[in-house]
Amino acid sequence: MTEIFAQGDLLLERVADVVPSGSIEENLDGVTMVLAEGELSGHRHAIREPVTLFRDEKLASDMPAGLYIGHVKVSSEYARVTHEEHAPLTLPRGTYRVRRQRELGPKDARVLAD
């Protein structure tokens, strides 16, 4: 069973550990790693524990386009995802695939039949 965690418009699914690939970023302990930032509010989903954030599109081929943010590898005992408007989310050691939420916009509107 894939465990799923959600914090507002961010969703993380626990996946099997993989060797980081694609573009890779690491943060030092106490230095904020931003997973996603609100377009209007500037509020951020962020982690301060040391984690590895990597992004490899090949690992998201089963996901609708535009949702994939990246993978987070938590090597320490846990990492906490914080956000200004949501309670913190505690992620146990492991690898998580991170995606954003979507909705339809006015340009997506179509008449179903005519």
Binding site: M1, T2, E3, I4, F5, A6, Q7, G8, L11, E13, E39, L40, M63, P64, L67, H83, E85, H86, A87, P88, L89, R99, Q101, R102, E103, L104, G105, P106, K107, A109, R110, V111, L112, A113, D114
Partner: protein, 378 residues
């Protein structure tokens, strides 16, 4: 023999790689500029470009305050103005320079420079689309032309009209059409491909100093850039409080998330009622009206029907007789606000869901079954 020609640049140095982002930013600013045109510099650029193309410089420059004004004036072009030379002036030098660059630059490097310096620019593309739509709406047919004028049209006008080769799209060039010049400027200044890019000196000066141009043999119509251009985070034309695009002659467009809407919808949003939404026939404009009114208010006023409710949220739907269906799922923040209340949000979703869970799962690109593995939500 092309394969045996020397390919000098197989990879970029660190310094050359660093310069890519500078040129990317420079040309994004050029494409999106709202500064007044530097008319004398632009005219000088046109003369240089005509000479580089083997043409005599145009005898006459006609400046317009917007591409719509340009379109109106230039569609009256007659034999006195000569034929359109866009292809000779822009397309032919582009092909010639591209061929010369191919001989000097490895394909991988070329593609890297092109995609980095000149990425797709959705905002500028949406300006082009809006301008073309407006000029097409405004355009006259050959029959209209004959009715309005006693003089016969030029042969070029008649042939191009009959073939459908009229309007800005075929005869003019704007910021979107000229942005490839950014890549060539990088190749010239950073990689030193000076001889290969020499035919473009005039075109650079044009692209940097004006908005649109329609070049003919004897006359060149030139248009100012927009005075105002606003987009949203997705680079769609958007301004919630006024025009998203305005030219110096006052011609303006109002847009919401990339959809052109009537002015009143933006400037008099209090006039958006359920009745006004119902009678709007354009489904995209209708969505904008609901977003501006806010889905929360739309639902509270009785605009939609509650279809389903579960622990993930409430599914709302509205069906119009024209087979247009709006659906949204109302979700509640798991974390309370400081005052103890919970924020409600509406997310617009496809209309075919039967449960709120299916709809919420879709917003994350998941099936309802996969979403049931949710451990915690904050």
């Amino acid at each position: 023999m092309r394969g045996s020609l020397p390919i000098e640049h197989n990879a970029l140095t660190a310094e050359q790689t660093a310069a890519l982002s500078r040129y990317r930013a420079r040309w994004a600013a050029i494409r999106r500029s709202t500064a007044p045109a530097d008319r004398s510099a632009a005219e000088e650029g046109v003369r240089l470009a005509y000479c580089a193309a083997g043409l005599s410089p145009p005898a006459r420059f006609v400046w317009c305050e917007s591409p719509l004004a340009l379109s109106r004036l230039a569609r009256e072009a007659s034999f006195v103005d000569g034929g359109n030379v866009k292809s000779a002036l822009i397309e032919r030098p582009r092909r010639k320079v591209a061929a010369a660059i191919r001989r000097r630059l490895h394909r991988r490097v070329r593609q890297n420079v092109e995609s980095t310096v000149n990425p797709a620019d959705a905002l500028v593309a949406s300006v082009t689309e809006a301008v073309l739509q407006a000029t097409e709406r405004d355009d006259v047919t050959l029959l209209d032309y004959l009715r309005r004028r006693s003089q016969p049209p030029s042969l070029s006008f008649a042939v191009r009209t009959l073939l459908g080769w009229r309007g800005l799209h075929y005869n003019s060039a704007g910021p979107d059409d000229l942005s490839w010049l950014g890549t060539c400027e990088y190749l010239r200044n950073v990689l030193g491909l000076r001889d290969e890019t020499a035919p473009l000196l005039g075109l650079w000066q044009i692209a940097i100093n004006l908005g649109w141009l329609q070049p003919h043999e004897k006359t060149c119509w030139l248009a100012e850039r927009p005075a105002l251009l606003r987009g949203d985070a997705q680079d769609l034309l958007h301004n919630p409080s006024g025009p998203a695009l305005r030219f110096r002659d006052g011609w303006s467009l109002w847009a919401w998330k990339g959809v052109e809407v009537p002015r009143w919808i933006i400037e008099r949003p209090e006039r958006i009622t359920l009745g006004a939404i119902d009678i709007e026939s354009n489904v995209q404009v209708r969505r904008c009206m609901i977003e501006i009114m806010t889905p929360d208010r739309f639902v509270k006023l009785g605009g939609a029907t509650r279809i389903a409710q579960d622990e993930t949220g409430i599914l709302w739907r509205k069906i119009w007789l024209s087979y247009d269906v709006w659906a949204a799922v109302e979700v509640i923040n798991a974390t309370p606000e400081p005052d103890g209340t919970h924020k409600h949000f509406f997310l617009q979703v496809p209309p075919n869901f039967r449960t709120a869970r299916e709809a919420v799962a879709w917003t994350y690109g998941l099936s309802a079954k996969a979403y049931s593995n949710l451990v915690v939500r904050t």
